[in-house]
């Protein structure tokens, strides 16, 4: 790859990543003294209050509810049961919880990887000026505006083994499948639908990252005789590191917590019972056991944290390294 330009940190003018922080004039609260700080705090107050009420309070409440047998049903008392729900999750319910953790991780990893790889490829194709590109961009983004139930129903109809289009297609090859009712295919199909429905947004973020790359860099790369692959590898890919951080983190955290699409497609059957689905069924659909549902939420929260924090650290480091 001799001859391709190295990325110059100071000259790119790319409004992203750590550079963005350095190029902006920083205003420290420390500049203001005494009463001068008051307007700053007052301006912060509404946002902080909203975050406290809608973010922190429910989170703390979930942790507290996980230590009770709360059902939320008027007239049925809630008692503090200590760690009983956690004991239940790791003893009598452990086979179900362990299976759910496996389903959650498989789903999360597959969605994050497939969604980002596909989005990256599509974004690379769609960033070029060619006829009909606006149409294809709109087409790819279209599923992102559809509701989860609509998406679920569309694919449930397509994969209906009793006369759906996919069944008819398989029939041509003398094959059949239960699709969303198959232990083998339900999870891959749910992953496919999740990727299909979220792909548009992921592509959009990559596209915006690619559009921010200065044209001179591509021109320089071309002058140096870089092939398309090398231009992508040494120019595009490093320069969209901040977009990748956003896309990977959103896909990972979003897919670990997903339950609504699975609820519509399989109701958590056939190895698709992710922790989010298990939690929803325990808290709302079955016995209304909010205490146990909150316990599963806490386990899910912990797993999400264990995945998201190192991932974020790695991606941020990567950003700093490549930009």
């Amino acid at each position: 790859m001799a001859g391709l330009p190295t990325v110059n940190r100071g000259s790119g003018g790319i409004p992203s990543g750590p550079q963005r922080g350095r190029s902006r004039p920083m205003v420290s609260v420390g500049v203001f003294r005494g009463r001068a700080r008051l307007p700053i705090y007052l301006l912060m107050l509404p946002g902080a209050l909203i975050y406290l009420v809608l973010g922190i309070v429910p989170s703390v409440a979930t942790a507290v509810i996980s230590l009770t047998n709360y059902t939320g049903v008027p007239g049925i008392p809630a008692n503090f049961v200590g760690i009983q729900n956690y004991v239940q999750a790791f003893s009598i319910d452990w086979p179900g919880v362990a299976g759910s953790i496996v389903d959650t991780l498989v789903f999360g990893i597959a969605v994050t990887v497939v969604q980002n790889v596909l989005a990256l490829l599509l974004a690379e194709m769609l960033r070029r000026r060619m006829p009909g590109v606006a149409f294809f961009r709109a087409l790819i983004f279209l599923p992102a505006v559809l509701g989860v139930t609509v998406v679920g129903l569309i694919w449930a109809l397509i994969f209906n083994p009793s006369g759906g289009p996919a069944a008819n297609l398989l029939h041509v090859f003398h094959a059949t499948s239960a699709f969303f009712g198959s232990n083998t295919w339900a999870l891959p199909l749910v992953i496919f639908v999740q990727v299909w429905s979220s792909l548009g947004f992921t592509v959009l973020v990559y596209l915006s990252g690619m559009n921010a790359i200065p044209g001179e860099m591509y021109e320089a790369a071309q002058l140096d005789g870089g092939s398309s692959w090398n231009v992508f590898r040494f120019v595009t890919f490093p320069m969209i590191a901040p977009s990748m951080t956003v896309d990977v983190l959103l896909a990972a955290v979003g897919s670990l917590n997903v339950y609504n699409l699975i609820y519509v497609l399989t109701d958590g059957l056939y190895h698709t019972n992710t922790l989010g689905m298990f939690m929803f069924n325990s808290a709302f659909q079955g016995s209304g056991d909010l205490g146990f549902g909150a316990t599963l939420s806490m386990i899910l929260f912990l797993i999400t944290l264990l995945v998201a924090l190192p991932l974020q650290k790695y991606l941020r480091k990567r950003e700093a390294r490549v930009l």
């Binding site: 047998n69 059902t71 939320g72 049903v73 008027p74 007239g75 049925i76 239940q88 009598i92 319910d93 449930a156 994969f159 209906n160 083994p161 009793s162 069944a167 059949t176 499948s177 239960a178 699709f179 969303f180 009712g181 198959s182 232990n183 519509v264 497609l265 399989t266 109701d267 059957l269 056939y270 069924n281 325990s282 709302f284 659909q285 079955g286 016995s287 209304g288 056991d289």
Partner: protein
């Protein structure tokens, strides 16, 4: 100037219209009320209830009925129920009967309906004018400590609905025993005809109940002292490891081999239409779906027989259970309108309209009914062994296998070969002592 006049006239007419001026002068404006009713989706029931609501609004113009439904009683509707019960926005909720309660009811061994009914979340309806018009036996299934907790609209029947034309074509007769039933299925299959149809996608595994539940009552229940398997299991005199339960599952597995291909992925919602379009010779279903079959193919001649699980013909009778039950919620914002609606619903003409459309056995005394289900099921209509005598009604989910969220999944895994029937029986029994202690 003309524009001003027109504007004035419009304004005056709006004000006058709003105040409700009649020929006799001004009348006091009547406040409109909202009555909110929720129930699960059963297409014929939803259609007729919409008509009934329109007629109710005609009679009580100041009451606007907001009618909300959610699909499947063990799926999204269960979510709607459990969120509704925590709030105070719904007046009438469709649910199921609460009896029989466990021998020692606790919060962990009662179904949701039982829990709500026994904790004062429903308004007692004993003093309502319609109560005496309904069967005391049916009312007893919704009674707790002398309080009538709801209006049980009727009883549904489960069994096998068959396409008479297909049976005639292959010279088949209605099977009376399990062996005859399997022989019939084999024969149909040899002619390239799918014998049975039962959609089990997503929440559909609960529809395995069309096989599992009759087998429980025909294979196991007759061998329990007093014929009440529910009671025997609840008191511990019967155990899940019984060889009869193992036999139930072995036969269930055999019958499932004759279902349509890939039945696990076939949506339960399309079952009546699929059967009506000739995709199988028989449909495993409840009487509530017959109206949908008839709508999909009015020319189709349909017959009925109870699923023959036993080789003793006398044991093979339909599985019946209490259907939609209306309850007025304790937190209902408009109880007065709710009482009016229930009274309207239970009036002879309106109730007859409902029963004829839905195809249930009426719980109201007297009256003449003509439903498609009645004509198909003939003498079996509403006759059979009640679900309450078959197995305990536990909370929908939790750590025990005999819970409505759990058993269908396990039975499906048993069919797929993950567990043997004997292993499943021991799994059911494990932990059962804590349910009945």
């Amino acid at each position: 100037m003309n524009k001003m006049r027109i504007a004035g006239a419009v304004l005056t007419s709006l004000i006058v219209g709003g105040l409700g001026v009649t020929a006799s002068g001004f009348r006091t404006p009547v406040a409109t009320q909202t009555l909110k009713i929720i129930t699960w989706v059963n297409p014929p029931a939803v259609a007729v209830l919409k008509q009934i609501n329109a007629e109710f609004h005609k009679k009580y113009p100041n009451v606007n009925v907001v009618f909300q439904t959610a699909a499947d009683r063990s799926g999204p509707y269960a979510t709607l129920e459990s969120t509704t019960i925590r709030g105070n926005t719904v007046d009438i909720m469709g649910t199921g009967p609460i009896q029989p309660l466990p021998a020692h009811p606790t919060t962990s061994n009662m179904s949701n309906e039982q829990l709500w009914g026994t904790h004062g979340l429903y308004v007692p309806l004993n003093s309502q004018p319609w109560v005496k018009a309904f069967s005391p036996k049916i009312n007893a299934t919704e009674m707790y400590q002398g309080k009538l907790e709801g209006l049980v609209t009727g009883t549904y029947t489960q069994g096998v609905f068959y396409n008479k034309a297909v049976f005639a074509k292959y010279h088949l007769t209605v099977p009376r025993t399990y062996n005859a039933f399997i022989a019939l299925c084999k024969r149909l299959k040899s002619h390239g005809v799918t014998p049975l149809f039962d959609g089990l996608q997503d929440v559909g595994p609960a529809y395995l109940g069309f096989i599992y539940e009759p087998l429980m009552q025909e294979v196991w229940r007759p061998h329990v002292l007093g014929g009440n398997l529910n009671k025997a299991l609840s008191t511990g005199s019967a155990r899940w490891t019984s060889p009869y339960f193992v036999k139930v599952m072995q036969r269930e597995k055999t019958i499932m081999q004759y279902l349509e291909p890939n039945f696990q992925g076939v949506p339960w919602q399309s079952m009546p239409g699929d059967f009506a379009s000739g995709k199988a010779a028989m449909l495993l279903d409840g009487s509530w779906d017959l109206a949908a079959v008839h709508t999909a193919n009015p020319k189709m001649k349909v017959g009925f027989f109870p699923l023959p699980g036993s080789n003793h013909p006398a044991y093979n009778v339909p599985f019946v259970a209490g259907d939609l039950t209306w309850v007025v919620l304790h937190n209902a914002p408009n109880k007065v309108a709710a009482y009016k609606w229930l009274n309207f619903f239970s009036s002879p003409k309106i109730y007859q309209q409902y029963v004829n459309a839905v195809g249930i056995t009426p719980s109201r005394l007297g009256g003449t009914y003509h439903s498609f289900a009645q004509s198909v099921m003939g003498p079996w209509f509403g006759k059979g062994v009640n679900a309450a005598q078959v197995f305990p009604d536990l909370p929908a989910s939790g750590p025990y296998w005999d819970q409505s969220s759990n058993w269908p999944k396990l039975q499906l895994e048993m069919y797929q070969g993950t567990y043997t029937p004997k292993k499943v029986a021991s799994m059911y029994q494990q932990g059962w002592p804590t349910v009945i202690k």
